[in-house]
């Protein structure tokens, strides 16, 4: 009991931030599964969703802003795919990766231009930011909502992938890009749907994340993006449940390390974990072994 009493605040914070990383990590892992592309711009789509919310809420009611923010993220993500990735589809994989890095910098610097480099305060969504007390921990409502919402969304996503036609197409494309296009699957549509799902989840993640950590500047997407990427690699890039588990592990460990007084090393831990995983088990927890077909 004493243990729980001391550590509950950290565990709660870890689960919450883990859930938020998970929502971003799904975008990374799905795009990688299908395109074999690490979409570096994903963290910046996340940041932009937050930024748009800041501007939107000043003129629109909350429910409409939330819907529009999600729509905005979807439009932004699919546009990036159409403009920056699609023309390079037959190019070497390195070119498309570099294009992704370029888009990431473009989005960051455009945000710098719009905001003037100053941190914007995320609007208060009252019921999300309400203070609640559980046992020894006092925290925000969003801390409790996040893991529940994340799990629900992930279950829905897994159902979609397992039991619908588009889900089947996605699985087929991720297994073998060329053969599935020969089988009559509309590759472009599948890829668009992937980006739509990834970006919508990133937008939801941004609402939860920034309700908890209320400052947004052009670099806000970089760190959560990186950590979500590590989570995706940890869980086995390409695997949705893997990314979610990885995100929770990273979120919780990070906070426990901080709680143990090793605050200076909390970020180092995340990246050391990345290195160890890449060395010991490159395919991650749930990753599939890559069989090179001749």
């Amino acid at each position: 009991m004493g243990f729980l009493h001391t550590w509950l605040p950290y565990i709660l914070a870890g689960i919450a931030v883990g859930g938020q990383y998970a929502l971003i990590a799904i975008g990374y892992t799905m795009v990688y599964g299908i395109l074999r592309l690490i979409n570096f711009a994903h963290g910046d789509v996340f940041m932009w969703s937050g930024l748009i919310m800041v501007y939107m809420i000043t003129v629109l009611p909350l429910w409409l802003s939330v819907i529009l923010v999600i729509l905005f993220a979807i439009v932004l993500g699919t546009t990036i795919e159409k403009v920056a990735y699609r023309p390079l589809r037959s190019a070497p994989r390195m070119s498309i990766m570099i294009s992704a890095i370029g888009v990431s910098y473009l989005l960051q610097n455009f945000a710098l231009y719009i905001t003037g480099g100053l941190t914007k305060t995320y609007p208060a969504i009252n019921w999300l930011q309400k203070t609640v007390t559980i046992g020894s921990a006092t925290t925000k409502m969003v801390t409790l909502i996040t893991p529940i919402l994340t799990i629900v969304l992930v279950v829905m996503l897994v159902m979609l992938i397992k039991h619908t036609k588009i889900g089947m197409a996605m699985r087929a494309v991720s297994r073998d890009f060329e053969t599935s296009s020969l089988m009559g699957i509309d590759i472009n549509r599948v890829i668009t749907v992937t980006f739509v799902i990834g970006c919508a989840l990133a937008a939801i993640g941004s609402i939860l994340y920034f309700s908890n950590y209320t400052g947004i500047n052009p670099m806000s997407g970089a760190m959560p993006g990186l950590k979500a990427f590590v989570a995706a690699v940890f869980g086995g890039i390409g695997s949705v449940p893997g990314a979610v588990v990885g995100a929770f592990v990273i979120g919780i460990c990070e906070n426990l390390i901080k709680g143990a007084g090793w605050t200076t090393f909390s970020d180092a831990f995340t990246f050391v974990l990345l290195i160890i995983i890449l060395m010991v088990k490159p395919t991650g927890l749930f990753g599939e072994k890559n069989i090179d077909k001749v």
Partner: protein, 392 residues
């Protein structure tokens, strides 16, 4: 077709670049102009504070656009660069100023960038006046750097005295890894607080961190009486938010950086207790207060740079003072030559300033003996004057 498009776009980019350069040159023509470099962050962690400090300098320039040097009337031109709150970019920004032949440099907000740029000013032998960079290293090894504000050893002691006199015995100290200002100030605070008989818990957070949940939880767990975190305003807003969410239950204590409307904005309506030390209290010079507020009202871009309201930050007042110190130095030197202005600085004495008289000691630091202690009124979102605290 594709090639044509690529060519057009490349040409367009090149042309924009050329136009940009051309625009920059046109300002420097004309005979009797003296340039003052403004070395401040307009983006990054300290962007908000840097902009407010620049506002003070701009307002001073608006009030007094000319200076009489040796019988000739010179127009003062401000050359403003953005050091992006980044130690590596600060050097480039400083070189930019030097290459534009400024006679003197003002800034910066944030000690790290000033320390990084000191060598550039030293090599070019251009004098620099630090406005609110409080780390001792800024002036310690650099003969060209002076400053008009108090120092961290002084500020740390003042804060420790304040905390101890108000019955706080155990302090939680949070600084940012690799940030000269917060790490330095925390060290001086810890030294002074321990000397008084207090107890401290020290922690640091990494760059780009926005999750302060665990730090607030740690402070609670350790049973501290005060949360001392003199970090950038960006991080501060997040800390305040978490302090409320977790019902921190102890006052937040910080240095001059927190004296900003970013903080009052973040704390408004929240159940938090914030105390800071600073350079200036609104009301200290009513003429200045009214004048600059009227300027914010009529100039919308100034208002935006001040964070969207007319709340006055101490750094703005300090920026205003720095400009007049620079003008006095030029008058005393009777020359526009940076080397002669530099020679005139050590013996300079300036009175009639907003934040008190300025004279320099042998390392180039201003002689200051008192700091203002302010408390945030979370109902109105304004600063309230508490007391003047000295280091003794």
């Amino acid at each position: 077709m594709k090639k044509f498009l690529a060519l057009t776009m490349t040409l367009l980019l090149v042309l924009t670049f050329c136009v940009g350069c051309g625009g920059g040159d046109s300002g420097s023509g004309g005979g009797d102009t003296i340039k003052i470099g403004v070395f401040e962050p307009a983006s990054g962690d300290n962007g908000a504070g840097g902009k407010q400090e620049t506002l003070g300098i701009q307002y001073a320039n608006k009030m007094q656009p000319t200076v009489d040097i040796g019988g000739t009337e010179y127009n003062v031109e401000l050359v403003i660069v953005d050091n992006e709150s980044d130690n590596s970019k600060a050097v480039t920004a400083a070189q930019n100023l030097v290459s534009q032949n400024v006679s003197i440099v003002l800034g910066s907000y944030g000690s790290g960038v000033s320390i990084a740029a000191a060598d550039v000013f030293a090599d070019a032998n251009v004098p620099a006046i630090g406005v609110t960079c409080t780390n001792p290293q800024v002036t310690a090894d650099c003969e060209q750097y002076f400053r008009i504000c108090f120092l961290d050893p002084f500020q740390g002691t003042v804060l420790a005295n304040y905390a101890y006199e108000n019955g706080m015995r155990k302090a939680y100290c949070l600084s940012k890894l690799g940030d000269d200002y917060s790490v330095g100030l925390v060290n001086y605070f810890v030294e002074a607080f321990k000397a008084l008989g207090g107890e401290v818990v020290e922690e640091q957070f990494p760059d780009k961190n926005s999750d302060f949940t665990s730090y607030v939880a740690n402070a609670k767990k350790a049973g501290c009486d005060v949360f001392f975190s003199p970090v950038s305003t960006e991080a501060a807003a997040l800390i305040i938010d978490q302090a409320e969410a977790q019902a921190l239950g102890m006052p937040l204590l910080a240095g001059d950086t927190w004296d900003s409307n970013v903080i009052t904005g973040a704390a408004k309506g929240k159940n938090v207790d914030i105390v800071v030390t600073t350079f200036y209290q609104e009301g200290g010079n009513p003429d200045f207060d009214e004048g600059i507020k009227a300027w914010f009202e009529e100039d919308s871009s100034a208002m935006t740079n001040n964070g969207g309201n007319t709340d006055l930050a101490a750094v703005t007042a300090m920026g205003y003072d720095a400009y007049f110190v620079a003008l006095e130095a030029m008058k005393a030197a009777g020359s526009t030559d940076p080397a002669e202005i530099l020679a005139a600085l050590p013996s300079l004495q300036v009175s009639g300033l907003v934040c008190g008289d300025v004279s320099f000691n042998e390392t180039g630091d201003a002689n200051k003996t008192e700091a203002f202690v302010k408390k945030c009124n979370t109902e109105t979102g304004e600063w309230e004057f508490l007391t003047k605290q000295s280091a003794q």
